[in-house]
Amino acid sequence: MRYQLKTVRNCQGQARAVFVLEGQVDRALLEHLCPGGRVQVLPLAGKVPGALDFCRVESPEGWRLAAGLGGRELELLHPPDDPSPRERVERLLRDWGGA
């Protein structure tokens, strides 16, 4: 899948990365990016016009993904000074769907 890494910042020490995807986020994609992760879905769709159900995934290693299901933005939170989750997500995103 093609994506654009929109921002990486370190607000209060938290390294953040927001990937803007060419396609949409779905549960299968999140499971691909974070196998074995703990998935929590917050039902927001229907509460506000146009809102998407919101999904958080916590990996066994402690980093987290967050995204609206059906949306295009995927946020990665991971411990400061540790680039490995971002590199892993980037690699898996590139592999997803053979794109």
């Binding site: 910042r9 209060q12 938290q14 953040r16 927001v18 809102a51 946020e75 939170l77």
Partner: protein, 339 residues
């Protein structure tokens, strides 16, 4: 009682509160994680040991928990912070000792004097479902993680008590006035407004760049004005008072609140001589305009200190004036933001 206090501490995002020893004469509490100490390290790095720890809220919380557990009223214990994560320790640690005589404490103002929030007509032309957003954010679960901390919207949240903020900021103001007179007052007021401005930059900026925002709010936003209505709707779920957009244009925001928590506090203290006391909301109001119409938050810039200095402190940045204050008259606190 101490177990209840520990759970309350965790649930509100202050960290983990572990009672190591406890008895009527005192005890020891350890916090493997603590909101302020962790936040300090993330923001500023480690402190020199001689500067001491920063977990003042946790220290007071431990003192109150022991007092209520063993004496049934506050003021009976002294506390010393012996370890702090901000000093490089692996935990925060507090030693509590029974005082020979209880210390008299100022009673809380409780909820303060709140103004009435009347139903309002939707802002003319506003396409944002503000009330639905406020309600949805209010219902969002903000469960603490395994550290007892609440990382959400790109920042560390804590469900802080309004009167803790009010009392500490008021005492800061009072003591600096006593030491430096009007200069002290002006210095503290500008610092408190700046604290709100920095809060808006980090918290509102973090919210508007978050996945939560993208899922919940962003689908409704079509232009910059919508972004302002959207973030005000989110802010109305944060417990700072009901914020209303009265006027909005690219160069001007008029924001008001009939029950801002700072004026609730000052009204309860009967400080009729004071004016323009809603310092945090002043900073928040100009922060909204600087994020949306000065910093172009829609392009998701990297919100670091260099960007803050460039956009929030430049000559082009929006300023704010509190043009109405609930103290001494009926009505709302109102904030005019322009350049």
């Amino acid at each position: 009682m101490l177990a209840t206090a520990a759970e309350l501490f965790r649930q509100r995002g202050f960290g983990l509160f572990r009672v190591v020893e406890a008895g009527p004469e005192g005890g020891v509490v350890e916090c493997p994680w603590e909101h302020y100490a962790h936040g300090w390290v993330l923001k500023f790095g480690l402190r020199a040991r001689a500067q001491g720890g920063v977990s003042h809220f946790a220290a007071g919380f431990a003192r109150a928990a022991f007092a209520m557990a063993f004496r049934g009223e506050p003021g009976h214990y002294e506390v010393e912070q012996t370890h702090c994560r901000s000093l490089g320790d692996d935990r925060c640690r507090f030693v509590l000792r029974l005082r020979p005589e209880p210390r008299a404490l100022e009673p809380s103002v409780g909820a303060g004097i709140m103004g009435q929030v009347d139903p309002r007509e939707p802002f003319p032309g506003c396409r944002v479902a503000s009330e639905a957003i406020t309600q949805a954010v209010f219902e969002l679960p903000t469960e603490p993680d395994e550290r007892g901390l609440i990382p959400a919207f790109g920042v560390l949240l804590a469900k802080m008590y309004a009167n803790y903020y009010n009392l500490t900021s008021f005492r800061f103001l009072e003591r600096m006035e006593a030491a430096l007179g009007q200069t002290g007052q002006e210095l503290v007021e500008s610092l408190l407004v700046e604290a709100g401005h920095v809060c808006a930059f980090n918290t509102f900026g973090g919210i508007m760049e978050s996945a939560e925002w993208a899922a919940l709010v962003k689908p409704q936003l079509h232009d910059a004005a919508d972004w302002a209505h959207g973030i005000v709707a989110v802010a109305n779920a944060l417990g700072w008072g009901a914020l209303c957009v009265d006027e909005l244009a690219p160069e001007k925001l008029l924001l008001s609140s009939p029950n801002g928590y700072e004026s609730n506090f000052y009204l309860s203290k009967r400080m009729s001589a004071r004016e323009g006391v809603s310092y945090m909301l002043q900073g928040i109001a100009k922060g909204v305009m600087n994020l949306i119409f000065n910093a172009d938050i829609q392009s998701m810039p990297q919100l670091d200190e260099a960007y803050y200095a460039e956009r929030f402190k430049s000559g082009q940045a929006f300023g704010v004036r509190q043009i109405d204050c609930r103290i001494g008259r009926d009505g709302s606190d109102s904030f005019l933001v322009n350049r």
